[in-house]
Symmetry: C2
């Protein structure tokens, strides 16, 4: 830990505050001029910041940046969704996780591509002291990173709160579409909706709505609460009262419905599209009504989650698709090849297609999710 | 949550800073004038601050104060040891746990009795959101306690650090013998030694040494580290080089040796003294050398722990005793009758006796631990 985090933090704070942008303010995402399609890359489970006291942590982060760079350069998406677990906060001795969070979004920002992020279960977790450190005579790593850390050099790494992480991202980035959710949903924070608007209309006609939800974990239970479901019900009713515009939904931890569909797939009762079926579904702690709403609402076509690094499938479920992204980061468990799920939305006629782009540039698991 | 925590905090900060006291500075505990014995009451697992959003939390704290008051008035000890888990920080939405910590020490302070405290696994834990709160439409309890809380009203309750808790106790109380441990032992904090000195000597001749250790838990693994053992080895060698003065040791989470002795007791291979054998030993996560040192050192006569509310025994182990205190608080699991272990040290001839004083005033489990 030879780097002075204090100095880095100060430099970091000097980054300019973002200018106003009406599309960001309104949550409008526009097709690039002349394009028929609007392309979204999903970066899931990057897990930046692991094991900074050894060599492989920072090395992994460099590899993750390379994966994202490859995907961005090959696919040239119009938008990126950071699908949670951008950082492994329980694994670093840093007082402000925004430092690593910022690294995770840097390849997208460097290419001038806008993005939105939501929270996983590792992003605001407090540091977990490795028990091995207590068995040797002395813990050399307990050299506090900086004497200017708050409260002196007490080695307290309580985790950076969701609100702080989000505030830092929004304040410092004009390309960020991320937003604080309604206050009455807290401690669940990343709950918001963005609108993909028609390329041919001056009147911001919606082509599709993208809902972002915070599935908890870390500082609170890993669930989508009843009040979040209620928020979705009201919001979707308000924005799309007749369900005429298609909707997709993003969050981090799979709902219990993913367990059900995985069982059906294993029993050959449903046809999934994907290349990895390497582990069991690690679902939310409880189902509190969100899936019931999504099942009933005709315009909801697909849900996208991360969390399970060994799964990358899309399986049909009721009238929609339950999809995993693809483990993008070198951080986090698992050594399966990294990649990113891509979505492509076309207008007139509407279609929603998806595939997975790998770190070596290859492509697989193409699927039409709606048309 | 109608109380304004902000105002309470401000009032709390106005409490006067403690005056200098040579005995506190030197860690000397003196027999009261004319007394042949020096008496210590152990208050274990008070668990203040549970469920402040319902009635029974504060009610339990009042009951705990009553238990302590009874014990203090019946026994009239010279000193009190707070044996960890003074508060259940994972169970309250308060930004500074010192508020509850202060309630826990209030009966002792009110009687002008000095004390020392050490940490349990609940004292610095972050708030755990009850999952039930997420199943109803809205979480009425997420009304932030105060608009003056740091970071606005973001409902962040990360747990008060061990260092903050200890700093608050020491700064505000002239009767507190608690101290920060050596910095190289952090994140393990409450590691220090106090000396019971001879009643007949002007020269501060030691009668017994009392070691306090932090067995972790909460923000770090529940262990006594190798470096803490090393600290004990050096400190005891320095203060008592020929092992001629007897020593006792306090910490919160039982070591693995307690499991061993409990098995022997259950098999009838050893004779324990106690009234409660109601649960299994919940031991530290690992043994990292402390017990080996204590077993070898002839002057160590007994260890006292809390943590298991359903156990109150003392069992012989090698050449010493492994003892539980007695669950003192109405907070924490278990409905067994509350009480406190008492220790009595006499000089010329030296003896160390113990018994348990119950909340109804009765006494049981008398045992001679050393003479």
């Amino acid at each position: 830990m030879t780097i002075c985090w204090c100095m880095i933090t100060i430099l970091f704070l000097l980054v300019t505050v973002r200018p106003e942008n009406d599309d960001v303010t309104n949550g409008y995402l526009r097709f690039a001029s002349g394009n028929k399609g609007f392309k979204v890359a999903l970066f899931a489970d990057l897990h930046f910041g692991e094991n900074a006291w050894s060599d492989w942590g920072p090395d992994h982060d460099l590899s993750s940046i390379k994966v994202m760079s490859t995907v961005l350069d090959v696919e040239r998406p119009d938008f990126v969704v950071y699908l949670g677990d951008l950082v492994t906060a329980n694994n670093f001795m840093v007082q402000n996780a925004s430092l690593y969070w910022d690294q995770a979004i840097s390849p997208t920002r460097a290419r001038n591509i806008p993005w939105a992020s939501l929270f996983g279960n590792h992003d605001d977790a407090p540091f977990e002291w490795p028990i091995e450190w207590f068995s040797s005579s002395g813990i050399p790593q307990i050299v506090c990173p900086s004497a200017c850390a708050s409260g002196g050099d007490e080695c307290v790494f309580e985790g950076t709160t969701r609100l702080e992480l989000m505030r830092d991202e929004i304040r410092r980035n004009s390309l960020s579409y991320t937003r604080f959710g309604p206050r009455n949903l807290w401690p669940s924070v990343s709950n918001y909706v963005l609108t993909v608007v028609s390329p041919k209309s001056d009147r911001n006609t919606p082509v599709m709505f993208m809902y972002f939800l915070d599935s908890g974990g870390g500082s609170s239970p890993g669930v989508i609460s009843a009040i979040q479901a209620e928020w979705f019900r009201n919001k979707s009713q308000e924005m799309n009262p007749d369900s005429s515009i298609q909707e997709i939904v993003f969050w981090h931890i799979p709902s219990k419905a993913y367990e059900k569909v995985a069982k059906e797939a294993a029993a050959g009762q449903t046809q999934c599209v994907g290349s990895m079926f390497e582990e069991g579904v690690a679902a939310q702690d409880a189902e509190m009504g969100m899936m019931k709403l999504l099942k009933k609402r005709p315009s909801v076509k697909a849900i996208f989650v991360g969390h399970n690094h060994g799964l990358d499938w899309c399986c049909p479920y009721e009238k929609m698709w339950l999809c995993y992204a693809r483990h993008t980061g070198y951080g986090g468990y698992g050594t399966w090849a990294r990649g990113a799920r891509i979505l492509e939305i076309t207008d007139e006629p509407f279609s929603l297609k998806s595939w997975i782009r790998m770190e070596n540039g290859t492509l697989h698991s193409e699927v039409v999710l709606s048309n």
